[in-house]
Amino acid sequence: MSSINQIPVIEAKKGNPLARVFDELVRFCRSRSLFILHYCTGCGAIELPPAMTSRFDMERLGIQPMVSPRQADILLITGYVSIKTLKRVILTYEQMGSPKYVIGICSCTVNGGMYWQSYATAKKLDEYMPVDLYIAGCMPRPEAVIAGLQQLMDSIHAGKANSWEDYYRNYDYYLGNQQKLFGDNWQTPTDVIAEAKHYNLLSKGTLGVHTRLLEQHQQPLEALEMRLGHNLKEPTE
């Protein structure tokens, strides 16, 4: 959040009008089909069932739960995150495909809330991953959750909800905080730097001392390759 990239700069609109219409369409569609990953932390999760079911029914806004991070758009952090949980949250966040949005529900995600003195919880969620939106409260009611989601939809539509890019741009910062908490040998299966290159988001803050530390011990998980006609070269058994 301390990055200079976060300071809004008003750019003149350019490019051909057709592309702008297309972009507008894409953003509209994106904001109207949001899938929330089924991943809940802390006590705030209890507000989600009413938000999802018939009383408040957020599906009428096009927001639905999704079982796997690869297909999900929103990661809801619904309460305090213990350090153990935070590892899982980061793993899951990195598994999600971009664009992805993080919403911190509950005061605990903002500043530690009533667990501020606990040795076992992470205090500020946005030190470990970029957060699009906080919904404060202990715990916020479903109306508040839905209002927050609507705000997210609006900012996606407006093209302003791109804090996910910040994770790639300032990976070194986030990784540093993670390493501080989990120790130097912390790693996830996702190769974030390669992804940053893929999205063309590699910038000054992506690489640094922390990523160098990671590279020293990282064991990449290569995809299982299909071995077609593999037996051609093999000697007979």
Partner: protein, 625 residues
């Protein structure tokens, strides 16, 4: 004496048997036998005119025993079944050559005996298919039964037990058929087909009923019709891999051949339809149809419970036989075509499936569905073959199984048999569920650590599998090719023939054009592919980079495995699996046990003088009277 084409074929087949017998222990014997099967197939193809309405080809071999003329000849029906027999023999023998043979021999198997048993099976099947009268049919029938026993018993242990069970059933069936023959002979005075055809017209209802039961039961044993199906699955499944592909493809269809020849051609569906069951609304034909339908449902759902891939497939082999009989019993143009076409289609995909499973066993050493998984990345071609095979088995487009099942469904609806239709659909549902289990547990999911280094099956096994896969797809795209043969079979057995086109059937009550169906299907795939590939490069990730509630996965922990597959469904239908047929079988066994005990009691207790006296008395009485 000039040799007809049929003589050539039978001699060729006999020569194959001799080659397997005498030089079968030599080098590359398997390849030699395979090439000879290819030669037989070529000879058969020279008779291809039969498949397009050509006249009967007789064998010059014929002789007279006790006033009975024994003859052999080929017509469209024989040709159609012989084509499937030789095709599956060629491909499964090819599959057996090379790598499979070596590993089989290494495990202590006798490869000579295997090839010998295969050659014997093929020869005896050809003899059966060529039978020109009921006596030669019976001879061929017994030959096929015993040849099948040889192949099934090869593996020893469990396989021998299964084979013993089979031969017990087969003998009982043979007895029933023999009884039927005696009955036919007593009323027609001859076992020639023409004479029987005339005699049937003047037979009493009771006699016809008895004959339908005797022949239907006897031939039904081979087909695995309910309630005579228990032997089939273990016997086929425990046969060495390529053998089970061959048996699964064609062996039990010999029963259908005989049913077509005797019940449909000689007795006629009309006659069977006239046999009413008193006090009910149904007749013998309905009875057969319902037997067929239950043969579809029960074994299919039993297949779903199997944890051994080979057993699962073998149980499906029984179930799919039900569709064939059902189609034939409906006996309109479409139904008959569907039933007969299913014989061909089933042979293609069943052989492919057994081969794919055997390839997996060859590489991993197990067919236990709870001990496999994730093999798609290691054996992608086998996966493709299995996928194509199960689409065929489940009867979904674009594979050939869809066409035959569609024809059967359509005929059931056209003929106003909604309940049978519903039952057939329930069977298909079970098929889809259980083949999903098959492909999921073998190829999808997490790759086991011990299978990290598994390789794709060797080409000697892959080639026949790919050929079969191609046949499954091509005959799905152009079902007109086999339908031409089917139409001439229908004519020969006296069923109305279908109006076929290259892409399917043409009929006022509903046409099917697979070229269109598949065209639309692939257009859909094409649109999907365009969207997928235009969306940019996709990223492949490791299986362990996966979501498990946020858990960090490692190779030593299995995060995905299957046991008690379909637990939820089993909770619903589990109570229906009661083993009633096993109970029935056991009660028959204990009844026979009891009778034999009684006989033994008589035999052991009484003394020899008593026997002598009673025999003498009996003989004297006989002479005097």
């Amino acid at each position: 004496m000039t040799l007809t084409l049929l003589d050539e074929l039978l001699l060729f087949s006999g020569a194959t048997l001799l080659v397997a017998l005498f030089i079968g222990r030599g080098l590359a014997a398997g390849w030699m036998v395979t090439i000879l099967y290819g030669g037989q197939l070529l000879t058969l193809l020279k008779m291809a005119a039969l498949g397009y309405g050509g006249g009967i080809i007789a064998s010059s071999l014929s002789f007279t025993v006790m006033g009975q003329n024994l003859s052999w000849r080929f017509d469209a029906l024989s040709w159609f079944f012989a084509l499937i027999t030789l095709g599956s023999a060629l491909l499964s023998s090819w599959f057996a050559c090379g790598a499979w043979e070596r590993s089989y021999a290494k495990q202590g198997g006798n490869i000579w005996l295997f090839h010998l048993a295969m050659a014997l099976n093929v020869l005896s099947m050809l003899i059966l298919l060529a039978s020109g009268d009921l006596l030669s049919l019976f001879i061929g029938w017994e030959l096929v039964s015993w040849a099948g026993f040889l192949l099934m018993a090869l593996a020893g242990g469990v396989a021998t037990q299964a084979a013993m069970r089979y031969i017990t059933y087969a003998m009982a069936g043979g007895m029933a058929i023999f009884g039927g023959l005696a009955l036919v002979y007593s009323s027609s005075g001859s076992l020639q087909l023409d004479a029987v055809l005339i005699a049937v017209e003047s037979m009493s209802t009771t006699k016809l009923w008895l004959l339908v039961i005797l022949f239907g039961g006897g031939f039904g044993v081979k087909m695995g019709l309910l309630p005579f199906h228990l032997w089939q699955a273990p016997a086929y499944a425990e046969t060495p891999g390529p053998g089970s592909a061959f048996l699964g493809a064609i062996s039990s269809r010999m029963g259908l051949f005989a049913i077509l020849l005797v019940l449909v051609k000689l007795f006629g569906i009309v006659n069977i339809d006239s046999l009413k069951i008193p006090f009910t609304l149904i007749d013998a034909r309905d009875l057969l149809a319902w037997i067929a339908v239950f043969t579809i449902i029960f074994p299919t759902f039993t297949a779903m419970k199997q944890n051994d891939a080979r057993h699962l497939l073998a149980w499906h082999g029984i179930g799919q036989g039900g569709y064939m009989l059902l189609g034939v019993v409906v006996a309109d143009a479409m139904g008959g075509a569907g039933g007969l076409l299913h014989v061909f289609n089933h042979a293609t995909y069943q052989a492919a499936l057994f081969m794919a499973v055997t390839a997996v066993i060859h590489r991993t050493g197990t067919a236990d569905l709870n001990k496999l998984g994730g093999l798609v990345v290691r054996m992608p071609l086998s996966f493709m073959v299995l996928l194509i095979g199960i689409i065929g088995l489940a009867g979904l487009p674009p594979m050939n199984g869809f066409v035959s099942k569609w024809l059967v469904y359509r005929s059931l609806l056209n003929e106003g048999m909604p309940l049978l239709f519903l039952a057939a659909v329930i069977g298909t549902l079970g098929t889809i569920l259980s083949v999903y289990k098959l492909i999921h547990n073998i190829f999808l999911g997490q790759l086991r650590v011990e299978h990290e280094q598994v390789k794709e099956a060797p080409w000697s096994m892959m080639a026949p599998m790919l050929i079969l896969a191609a046949i499954i797809f091509i005959t799905g795209l152009f079902p007109g090719i086999p339908l031409a043969w089917v139409a001439s079979v229908q004519e020969v057995v006296g069923l109305p023939a279908t109006d076929y086109t290259l892409g399917g059937v043409e009929s006022v009550s509903g046409s099917l054009d697979m070229i269109w169906v598949i065209g639309v299907l692939f257009a859909g795939f094409g649109i999907g592919a365009v969207i997928f590939y235009s969306a940019g490069r996709s990223k492949r990730v490791h299986q362990l980079d996966n979501y498990a509630g946020g858990h960090f996965l490692s190779a030593d922990v299995r995060y995905q495995y299957s046991d008690n597959f379909y637990a939820g469904l089993m909770h619903l239908v589990g109570g229906w699996y009661r083993g009633s047929f096993l109970w029935l079988e056991k009660s028959v066994i204990s009844l026979i046990d009891f009778l034999s005990l009684v006989m033994q009691g008589l035999y052991r207790r009484a003394n020899a003088e008593f026997y002598l006296l009673s025999t003498a008395l009996f003989v004297m009485a006989w002479v005097v009277i």
